[in-house]
Amino acid sequence: MTIEPALRDSLLAATPNLRAFAVSLTGSFDRADDLVQDTLLRALSHIDRFERGTNLYAWLFTILRNLFHSEYRKRKREVEDVDGTYAARLKTAPDQGSWLDFQDFRAALAKLPADQREALLLVGAQGFSYEDAANIMGCAIGTVKSRVNRARMRLAALLSLENVEDLGTDRLMRAIA
């Protein structure tokens, strides 16, 4: 299998992003790394289908996201309570650097439905446009927007951001002023 060096370098450059997305999506480094490995192998075996000059990140994220969902469907047959298993995995996640620093946020993220979680991550963390996110998720742009909004509202409630004290008096005054 051979690909041009520039594309190989781009794949390597995209790998941390794929991994960050996969870890955030699954809550597990082990599962994320399996997902990233499968994504890279799939990408390499279908590299001829990648249209050079188009958005490589969007193409790779589409592959990863589809693999995640086909795995999810397989697992769903085995385990009914998918959200419960996600939460359980989080608790047993290995201490990997400052991963623990974001425990509150991760715990809240874990409570979101998978479609809201991935929409929020694609747009809010990875910085894809709504249009790219819609292509990646195979849905309408309006659906992405609504998922992101619901995710934000749910996260705000879970993180108690409506609580005045959490925002600090200054910021609130500026917000209300």
Binding site: M1, T2, I3, P5, R8, S10, L11, L12, A13, T15, P16, N17, R19, A20, V23, S24, D33, V36, Q37, L40, L41, L44, G53, T54, N55, L56, Y57, A58, Q96, G97, S98, W99, D101, F102, F105, R106, L120, L121, V123, G124, A125, Q126, G127, F128, S129, Y130, D132, V148, R152, L155, A156, L159, L161, E162, D166, L167, R171, L172, A175, I176
Partner: protein
């Protein structure tokens, strides 16, 4: 092709940027913007921390094999 670390933040952070629409927002909407900005900040802090982690060797090896293949089977 995107070579930047992130594909560009057009999402949550943008909602709270100073360059907001001219139409005056209600206090409730402005509070919503502050909340969105807080969530965006927390999420990107978590995400950026993940981005900064070194790539596991298995992925570097996987992609490096392509180089070897290229040398052995030049096309």
């Amino acid at each position: 092709m995107t070579t930047k670390k992130n594909a560009g933040h057009s999402g949550l952070g943008a909602a709270a940027s100073p360059a907001q629409k001219k139409s005056p927002l209600s206090p409730r909407d402005r509070l919503a913007h502050v909340i969105d900005a807080e969530i965006g900040k927390k999420m990107r802090a978590m995400y950026d921390d993940l981005l900064d982690q070194p790539i596991p060797d298995r992925f570097v090896e996987l992609l490096k094999k392509l180089d070897d293949g290229r040398e052995n089977n030049p096309q």
